[in-house]
């Protein structure tokens, strides 16, 4: 039963996440944290961290990780298959049409409307995660600001914007520097 629920949840995520792995994050969050309570918000933030730190596409990483946490290796396989099934069908149909007609203006046109919405959704999910890091208890409470986290966030963002490195280096660097600070205090 849990397999069926997991499959159905990720099928919906796969069908509606347009714009790559980051676009899948708000949908996974909605299904896993809010609708089913399979993971807590903090665990979900760890899922994203792990997905960034391991090789491979972030969306598949997240699906596998969540699947394993909920129902073991079988869960990982079910979640991943559910996640990629809609795109497999759609991409193969589009590839077939492309080979036949070499013209997909209609598709790209409709997606012009989708793209800004997807960006807004990623921004909203990012803001949720940001609030989770700035305040210690996941809710906006001025008595509970985590100043170290704000410092780490600002430093990371500055480096990412200024030098445009591969995010993985920033993550590892901030993990070492920030981890040391947290351990020392």
């Amino acid at each position: 039963m849990i397999y069926l629920e997991l499959f159905w949840s990720f099928l919906k995520v796969g069908l509606f996440s347009i714009g790559g792995g980051y676009a899948a994050l708000p949908l996974i969050q909605k299904q896993i944290v809010e609708s089913h309570n399979w993971l807590t918000a903090t665990e979900f933030a760890d899922v994203i961290t792990m997905s960034q730190l391991t090789p491979g596409p972030i969306g598949v990483n997240a699906a596998t990780f969540v699947g394993t946490r909920i129902a073991g290796v079988g869960g990982a396989i079910i979640a991943t298959i559910g996640f990629i099934l809609p795109s497999c069908v759609i991409v193969i149909i589009l590839a077939y049409l492309y080979n036949k007609y070499k013209n997909l203006k209609i598709v790209s046109g409709i997606l012009n409307g989708l793209r800004p919405a997807v960006i807004a959704l990623i921004a909203a999910a990012g803001l949720d995660i940001l609030i989770g890091t700035v305040f210690n208890d996941l809710s906006i409470n001025l008595n509970n600001i985590n100043f170290i986290s704000i410092g780490l966030f600002s430093a990371s963002l500055f480096i990412l914007r200024k030098f445009k490195p591969n995010p993985i280096y920033v993550m590892v660097g901030i993990g070492i520097v920030g981890g040391t600070i947290y351990l020392l205090i």
Binding site: Q52, G56, A120, I174
Partner: protein
């Protein structure tokens, strides 16, 4: 022309290796796929590859997986696509299953815990960075419709907690209507 078996093997090993050793997701994997299949194997030409990436990006799901599917399909049909799909998803399946099994033991370790806590700030920064770059992409085009859709979608998702899937469906419909309107207005063929 190489034998089918040989092509399948090459499709699988190339996508497997790229997926297994590339950190950073689709935006890093896609250029590597392009290098392999366009520059090294010369199985696909440059312009076709760009069209294929556009299709992969505009389809739902993971861009890296979609790009692999379309490459496999282009080179040797449905079976080719199956080989590239498995090549792309097997490494994360194996690696993440192992990582996930150790996650609880990991989490109870003080050092790992401190590092993970610090990395959460890093993740927030990465997502904010990606978002800023994407918002700049939209505002650069100076399309008022896009900017309005973006603002409304943000309000709907963040403040009103409206279902993400509804927002996507609704903005897709608006996009379709706007497209139809533009084509009708300019009398362009599509």
């Amino acid at each position: 022309m190489e034998s089918n078996k040989h092509i399948y093997l090459k499709l699988f090993t190339s996508t497997f290796l790229i997926s297994a050793f590339t950190f950073g997701g689709g935006y890093v994997i896609v250029p590597l796929l392009k290098k392999k299949f366009v520059n090294d194997f010369k199985w696909i030409d440059e312009k076709e590859m760009l069209d294929m990436v556009a299709i992969a990006q505009s389809s739902p799901g993971v861009i890296a997986v979609n790009t692999s599917i379309i490459i496999g399909y282009k080179i040797s049909g449905f079976v080719g696509a199956l080989f590239t799909i498995f090549g792309t998803i097997l490494p994360p399946l194996i690696i993440m299953s192992i990582v996930s099994l150790f996650y609880i033991a990991f989490k109870e370790n003080i050092v790992v815990n401190a590092i993970m806590k610090a990395m959460r700030a890093g993740v927030a920064a990465v997502i904010v960075d990606v978002t800023i770059t994407m918002i700049k992409g939209v505002t650069k085009d100076k399309s008022i419709a896009s900017i309005i859709i973006m603002i409304l979608a943000f309000i709907a998702a963040f403040f009103l907690n409206i279902d993400v899937m509804l927002i996507i469906l609704f903005s897709g419909i608006i996009g379709g209507i706007l497209l139809y309107h533009n084509i009708y207005k300019k009398g362009k063929q599509f």
